[in-house]
Each structure stands twice: as C-alpha cells, then as structure tokens.
C-alpha cells in the first residue's frame, strides 16, 4: 500500500512544501526513513511506532519505507512526526486515502499520542495557501499563529485520536467537529499592550540624547551613544522602540514569521505586536549574531528585524564579530550560503551602539579621567572604522545634575515623541513613493542629491563647514540625510540652515579627538589666536 501526505518545512524564513511518501510492502520487517534527514527527524520513526501502539495500532511485520521529497534539501525538526503517522494509517487503511488529499499536516508527536507545537507554522501555512492547499492541520499550540493567514482552513489538533476522527469524518461535517480558526492581525495589533517599553518621560534631563533618539527613530538612523558609565545609555536605548511608530500589520507578520521560523514564538501567541529589542552581551559569537549552523538558524540581527539591536560597550566587541554585521547592515538582509543552498533572512534592525569614551569612562573630564592619552586613543580606535561607517551619528550622554534629576519639570512622554516621529515617517513615505527607499537612512548618494536639495546660500555655507571641519564625503552625505530627517521632524519639506547645523553637530567627528590627544596643535586654533594683525605685533614689539 502506498500513501502520500503533504507537509511543509522551513527554509530560511520561507517554507517549501514537502511530500511524505509511505509504502508498506511484503519483505523483511523493517522501518526505513530516507530523504536527507537530520538525526532528530529520523527519530520520528520510533516516536510514531510507539504513539501508534498506544493509539491501538500495531505496525505489521512488513517492510515499511518512508521517503521525504524533495530529497535534495537537508531537513531538520519534528514537523514530520504527524504526517508520517497519518501516512502509515492511510497505508493500513485506517483512514481513507482521499481524506488526506489537498490537506497539509504538520506537528510533533508524543509517545502518548499528544500533538506538540513545531517551528515555522506561520510560514508553512502561508506557503500552503500560495500552493492552493485547502486545509492545514497544525498542532493546537500553533493554531493562533497559523490562523493569521486568511483564505485557507487552519485547524488545530491536540491528539492523534482527535486528528484521526477528524480525517475519518465526511468532509462536509468536518468543520462542525473542529471549526477552522481565524485571527485578525490588525485587531491584535490595536489591542496590543503599549506599555512594554519604559517611557521616555522616566528619563530626566538628557535633552540632547532624547532628541538624538527621536531623530534615529524618525529616519531609521543607526546611532552611537557615548558617555561615562551610569548615565543612562541603556535606559535610553530601551525607550527607543517605544518612540518608533507602531508596527503595521505587514511588519508584525514579517517579524512573527521570523520568530516562528526560529522557534522563538511563545506558545499560543498569535502575533508579535511590539518591536523587538535585543541587547546581546559583548561576548556573543559571530554565528549567534548573524545566524549560522549547518542548517542555518536566524541570528540576532534577524531577530531584531524592524526593532532595535542594542550593542552596549561596543569597544569590548571583537572586531571580527562587528565586521560581520557590516554587510547585513548595508544590504538590509543576510544571506547564509551552505553547500546545499542559500538561506536568506531579512535583517534591518535599528542599530544602537553605546560606548565609554575611554577605559575609565570619564574622558575628557581631566579631573576624573586617569587614562593616558594613548589608552584613550587605543580604546576609541578599537571599534573598526568600516563598522563605524554604518553608524550615522553620535550623541553624548553625560551626567545629569541633581536639579534635573529631582526636578519636577514635566518630561515629554514617549507618546508625544512618537506622534512627531510618525508624522516624519508619513512624510518620508510620500516622498519615497515609487523608490526603493523607506526611510531617509536608506538613501544612496545620488538620492541624497535629489531629495536633500540645498539652496545656493545653504550650499555655500555647507561648503565652508565641509572645509572647516575637514569632513569626509561620507560624513557629508550622512549629515545631509540627518538634516533631511530633522526637517521632516519639524514638518518642513525645505531643509533650513538650522536643520543642517544640528545635523552636522551630531555627526561622527573624524579627527578632533586624535588631535586633542596627540598634543598636536589645531591650526584652526592658531588662526583665531593670531587672527588679527595687532595680535602678532604684540609679540614682535
């Protein structure tokens, strides 16, 4: 007897449909599973044998062969337990073969016949829908997640017995037995509890840092916060997801898909409704950061997709790990290649890095800093240059004085800031309609010229600034992008001098620390000191 059941498997965060073919024929009694399977998947045979026994069916002493097709892709996971057992039952005639036609089955099986949740159901159901499957049978624990997909019947089952009785039922009567579920993502989003992240109003003072966060959120600009220890860098970073605009349905589905594929979606959670916030420890490995493994699993940069990836103590990270982030940060996705294929993961987190300015943390406060100039330079140079290039701007987070700390002054709440950010993003959406860009930070150099026009007066001013500060071309473009965001936040289509100056003030400076530390003189300095003729004469008198 032969039977064929459809199931699905995750590949990256996408899925493909897989066919479980079962054949029982006469010969030496054996149970063979073929089809490029990993160890845990191969063990399905044992689980199925015992679960069926406990269900009351003993496998006949015959030659049983199970094949997973396509056989060319390496497979892992427990998703085939259920399809294999249904395939066997169909072969044995316990279930009519026609009952499994156009039905996708996925789930892990316990020895007692209990059906347990598996990874990647959301993406599997999406793929099933695209392939024209009519019914998806998923573990009850994954039901809410699978039910996010509309236009396909998604049914949750708890036990093997329940599933068998469902399949034996007349197709017309099935819905009465186990009604298909449907979950509305938009509704879930609107009901989501918004108070997950600390509110910005809980942070006293730090006006410049708060403004910087607002700009980061509005233009999706990666940001570096620097300052002495204990000034609230981590706290500020945690506030950031709270001022980013609420997730749209598509964004929420995309994040949920990633978490589902990684097996990180909590049971009975339908949808991830908040932007993720991840802060790995600096000892994190490259594989964890960007994803890896023989059959790859998504890394932190993917798990933080559309959310915030917070790298605290950035100077402590090894450059090997940081440099691996460069490419995904540039391309907004990461492709992991293996012999058997390429796995693509979206990776567009808002990167927030924090660092101390020197080993002791107090530079340039010379009364407290005990580091030698060399140590300070070495510390600052530890972050690799190409990585820093991916960061758009820097803000200093200093000590807040006691007045402000205890002050009764009402601080702006995250909600107020979020409203401004949303308006700015709305503006960008209109501007970038029909272009591949979503946010100001996405703009290429050409696009910057086009979307950030400066009038002749401003262009002249920017030229002076460019020369005076010895800016690099890259820094120049970043400043323009930032100025664009600041103008957007202020509700202006036109970039004003004030926006530009603020942007330049926030830039990542190229040289001045080094100059200061190495004891070299500033020529600028000199120019001022001897700027007037009389001053020079004084020395010669």
């Amino acid at each position: 007897m032969y039977s064929s059941i459809i199931t699905g498997a995750v590949h990256g965060i996408d899925s493909y449909l897989m066919r479980v073919e079962t054949d029982i024929s006469s010969g030496m009694p054996s149970f063979n599973m073929v089809g490029f399977m990993s160890g845990e998947m191969r063990e399905a045979g044992e689980r199925v044998r015992v679960a069926l026994k406990n269900f009351g069916i003993h496998l006949p002493p015959q030659r049983i062969t199970v094949n997973l097709s396509p056989a060319g892709i390496p497979k892992r996971g427990m998703v085939v337990d259920l399809p294999v057992s249904i395939g066997l039952l169909a072969c044995l005639g316990s279930i009519p073969v026609r009952a499994t036609e156009n039905v996708l089955i996925a789930g892990e099986l316990g020895l007692n016949g209990e059906i347990r949740p598996v990874k990647g159901i959301l993406s599997i159901v999406m793929e099933a829908k695209n392939s024209g499957i009519s019914t998806c049978i998923v573990p009850n624990g994954n039901l809410s997640e699978g039910a996010l997909v509309h236009g396909i019947r998604v049914v949750g089952v708890r036990t093997l017995a329940e599933l068998v009785s469902y399949l034996r039922e007349n197709p017309m009567e099935r819905d009465r037995l186990l009604p298909p579920a449907e979950v509305d993502a938009a509704q879930l989003l609107s009901q989501a509890n918004k108070a997950v992240y600390p509110d910005l109003s809980g942070v006293h003072g730090q006006r410049q840092a708060k403004k910087a966060l607002e700009i980061a959120a509005a233009g999706f600009h990666n940001i570096l916060m620097s300052g002495p220890p204990g000034t609230g860098k981590s706290m500020l970073a945690k506030c950031l997801p709270g001022i980013m605009p609420p997730l749209t349905t598509d964004e929420a589905l995309e994040i949920t898909r990633i978490y589902s594929a990684a097996g990180l979606l909590p049971e009975d959670t339908a949808l991830i409704t908040e932007r993720p916030f991840l802060s790995p420890h600096h000892s994190v490995t490259r594989a964890v950061l960007i994803g890896g493994g023989n059959i790859p699993t998504p890394g932190l940069i993917t798990l933080a997709h559309l959310g915030v990836l917070f790298l605290d103590e950035i100077s402590e990270y090894k450059s090997y790990e940081l440099n691996s982030l460069r490419e995904p940060l540039e391309n907004r996705e990461i492709t992991i290649r293996r012999l058997t294929g390429a796995y693509r993961y979206p990776a567009r987190p808002l990167l927030v890095a924090a660092s101390n300015p020197c080993p002791c943390g107090y530079y340039p406060d010379m009364n407290r800093c005990k580091c030698t100039p060399k140590e300070v330079l070495r510390y600052q140079k530890r972050i690799s240059g190409p990585f820093i290039d991916r960061i758009d701007f820097r803000v200093y987070v200093g000590r807040v004085n006691a007045d402000e700390l205890q002050g009764s002054e009402l601080e702006e709440s995250s909600r107020t800031v979020q409203a401004r950010v949303m308006e700015a993003i709305e503006r960008q959406k209109r501007r970038f309609a029909g272009t591949p860009f979503h946010y100001n930070a996405d703009m290429t150099a050409d696009a910057v010229e086009h979307f950030c026009p400066l009038n002749s007066l401003l262009a002249g001013k920017m030229k002076i600034v460019y020369d005076q500060l010895g800016m690099s071309m890259r820094s120049y473009h970043k400043s323009l992008k930032m100025a664009r965001t600041i103008a957007d936040l202020n509700g202006r289509e036109m970039i004003l001098e004030r926006d530009l100056m603020t942007a330049v003030g926030f830039r990542l400076p190229e040289i001045n620390d080094e100059e200061h530390l190495s004891g070299k003189e500033f020529d600028r300095d000199k120019k001022i000191l001897t700027g007037s003729g009389e001053h020079r004469n004084l020395f010669e008198a």
């Binding site: 006006r207 300015p357 003189e521 001022i528």
Partner: protein
C-alpha cells in the same frame, strides 16, 4: 653654528660598552684626556681602575673592554657619526654646555643634532603634563612663543602634551627651540612628534646623552629630565599633577640650583595641583610670559597685555554674533571644557526660556564653524 669638531677619542671612550660616566671619571683621575686613555697599555688600565673599582670586581672586565676597543679607529667612528648628521661634545671640549658642567651627575658627553643652546643667552625649560588640558595647551604655546621671540632658548622634552607644544611653538615663532630626548637623538619618539623632530633638526637642536639608535625605555626618561633642567636657567612648569614626571624634573632643577616658575591654575584642577603646590612652596608665579622675561631682563612695561589682547579679540568676534549664539559664546567662556547639559542649563537661565537640544546643537555648530568653539571628546566643548 659654533665649532662642530668632534673629539674622536672622547667619542671613542664614551661609546665603549660597559664604560659609563663613573668609569670615565675614575680614568680621568690618572689620565688627563681621552686620547691618553687610548694609548694606555692593558696593565696601565688595570692599575688605574683597580684602586677605585676593586670592590666591584669588574675592573678587569672594563679594562679589557677598553683594551680591546683600542683596536678601533676613533677617527672612523667620528666620521661615521658626522655622516649621520650627529655631533658629539664631551666635557673636554669647549663647546660642551657650561650649564651642564656644574650639575651633579654631569654626563661625560652628549650627542646632539644641529646645535646646542648658546651660553650667552638665557634659556628656559618648559615642561608639563602629557595629557594636558586645553588651558595648558594654550598657555604652553603662548609662553613658548613669547619667550622664544625675546631671544630666550626654549628647552623641552618633546613629549606629548605641554613639552611638544612648547617646543613646536618656539620653533614656529622663529626662536631657538631645543629638545632633550631619553632615546637616541635620531629616534623620533613619540611618533606624534615626528614632525617636530624634523623641524628641530633643521632649525633648533636635539640633545641626548644616549648613543644614536637607543630605543625609548622607561628608565631613561627620569635621567633625561635632569638634563632638561640642567640646560636651562629657569624651569617653567605649565601643568602637572602632584605626582608626575614633571615633579621629578623640578626636583632635579632644585638640586641644580635652577629657578622654578609655575603657571597658576584652579585649585580644583588635578592637572594644576602640582603647579599650585610648587607655588605654595615658593616657586615663581608665571602670570604671563612677561613675568618670566622680567626675571632675565629686568622690569619692563608689560603687565597683562596678552590677556587684555585676548579679551579685545573676543569682544570683536562677539560682535559678529547675535541671539542664542552670543549667549552660548558668553556661557562657554574661554579655554575651559564644558559639558552639553551644563551649557544648555546656563543658556536657559540667561535667556529665561526653554532651549531645546536641536537649537543648542545648531548654535554650537555655528560657533564651531566660525572657529569660536571646539568639540573635545564627544559632548564636551571649549571656547577659543
């Protein structure tokens, strides 16, 4: 430039392995000059070292070293050194700095590039912290420039911070600038001061008691400090912590009977702590370069002209500004490093209204572009 003839025998003697200032001193009790040592027999060498160095038990080794070295040709040695552009002066030579002859532990010889400080002009050593503040940086430059222009030789250690700045400023002003190194004269250390090293080989002088090619080693630097003060008539301390290398220089200077001047600073600044302490111990107070100049040339019409000049200059520049920039310019003052939050708060209290971070950042940038302010580290600024 003066007589740059190298005494080949002195150079030969000074560069023998294991023979230092002490051994040479012993030898000179018997021999009258290095040339005589060159012609001594092994027995004579043994004899003359034996009495003094017996307790150490290394006289035979030293004598042997000298004896074997006699095979070398001193003339060739001198020629090789000259080819590198390096000169050598020993205490036997007239050109040896008279100021050094008088100090305890005077080196038998010194290597130098280009020139030595003239005997007939006053000389001042400007020393201070390596990681100096903006204040120290600026004052080092002002003092060095002014003193150099008054014809005073400026001696420094070419270290990071105050030393390097003073050396460079004096050279740039067209004065005489000399650096005393702890490594060989041909080694530019620290690397940041390579350029200064080059400038001084062209106009100025580089001095060291260590043979060319000596790599910088920690233990060499405190010894170097005694030469800095030794070559100077007066030691001017710009900025120093209470316990620092600069204080070692001052100790050496006091032992050598040099005058000490210190630049006063705020009592709360760790970097001025050493200076203020020196002042409390009786050091001269360097309120302006004129104070130091008066020390050499007598009272002149000086006072605080420089300060006044700076004030007028700043007033003139302030007139270009208006609105919040002018307020920020005043708040920022001159020379001190200040933090963002502090500046915003001060601006608010003066203007009596809310100043948002964006406005502040823009104002600060405008000042920076005009060259009136500068960002130090991140989020810290200083007025210029």
């Amino acid at each position: 430039m003066k007589d740059r003839k190298i005494n080949p025998y002195a150079l030969w003697l000074y560069s023998i392995n294991g023979v230092g200032n002490k051994t040479i001193k012993v030898l000179m009790e018997t021999a009258s000059c290095a040339e005589e040592v060159y012609h001594m027999s092994q027995d004579e060498l043994n004899m003359c070292l034996a009495d003094k160095l017996r307790r150490r038990g290394d006289e035979t080794g030293k004598a042997l070293n000298i004896y074997f070295a006699q095979e070398e040709d001193p003339q060739k040695k001198a020629e090789a050194l000259r080819e590198k552009g390096i000169c050598f002066a020993s205490v036997e030579d007239d050109c040896f700095p008279g100021r050094l002859r008088g100090i305890p532990d005077c080196p038998y010889g010194i290597y130098y590039i280009r020139d030595l400080p003239p005997e007939d002009a006053p000389s001042v050593a400007i020393v201070g912290a390596r990681n100096c503040s903006g204040y120290g940086r600026e004052q080092a430059r002002i003092f060095a420039e002014k003193l150099a222009l008054m014809g005073i030789s400026v001696i420094s250690g070419m270290a990071r911070g105050v030393d390097g700045i003073a050396g460079r400023a004096a050279a740039r002003a067209g004065g005489r600038s000399y650096a005393v190194l702890g490594c060989g004269v041909d080694v530019a250390y620290p690397p940041e001061n390579k350029e200064l090293h080059r400038i001084l080989t062209e106009k100025g002088g580089i001095i060291s008691e260590n043979p060319p090619g000596t790599e910088p080693r920690t233990q060499l630097f405190p010894r170097r400090n005694r030469l800095i003060s030794g070559l100077a008539d007066l030691v001017l301390v710009i900025e120093a912590r209470r316990r620092s290398g600069t204080v070692i220089t001052v100790d050496a200077a006091l032992e050598q009977g040099r005058d000490i001047f210190a630049l006063p600073g705020r009592v709360s600044d760790a970097l001025s702590d050493g200076c203020n302490f020196l002042i409390s111990q009786g050091a001269g107070i360097a309120c302006s370069p004129e104070t130091v100049i008066e020390h050499f040339y007598g009272v002149r019409d000086s006072g605080t002209v420089l300060f006044e000049q700076k004030r007028l200059e700043r007033n003139r520049r302030r007139d270009e500004l208006d609105g919040p920039e002018a307020v920020l310019f005043d708040v920022l003052g001159y020379g001190d490093i200040m933090e963002t939050e502090f500046l915003i708060n001060r601006m608010e209290s003066i203007m009596g209204k809310h100043v948002d971070a964006e406005e502040f950042t823009a104002c600060m940038m405008r000042l920076q572009v005009r060259g009136l302010a500068q960002e130090i580290g991140s989020g810290h600024y200083k007025g210029i």
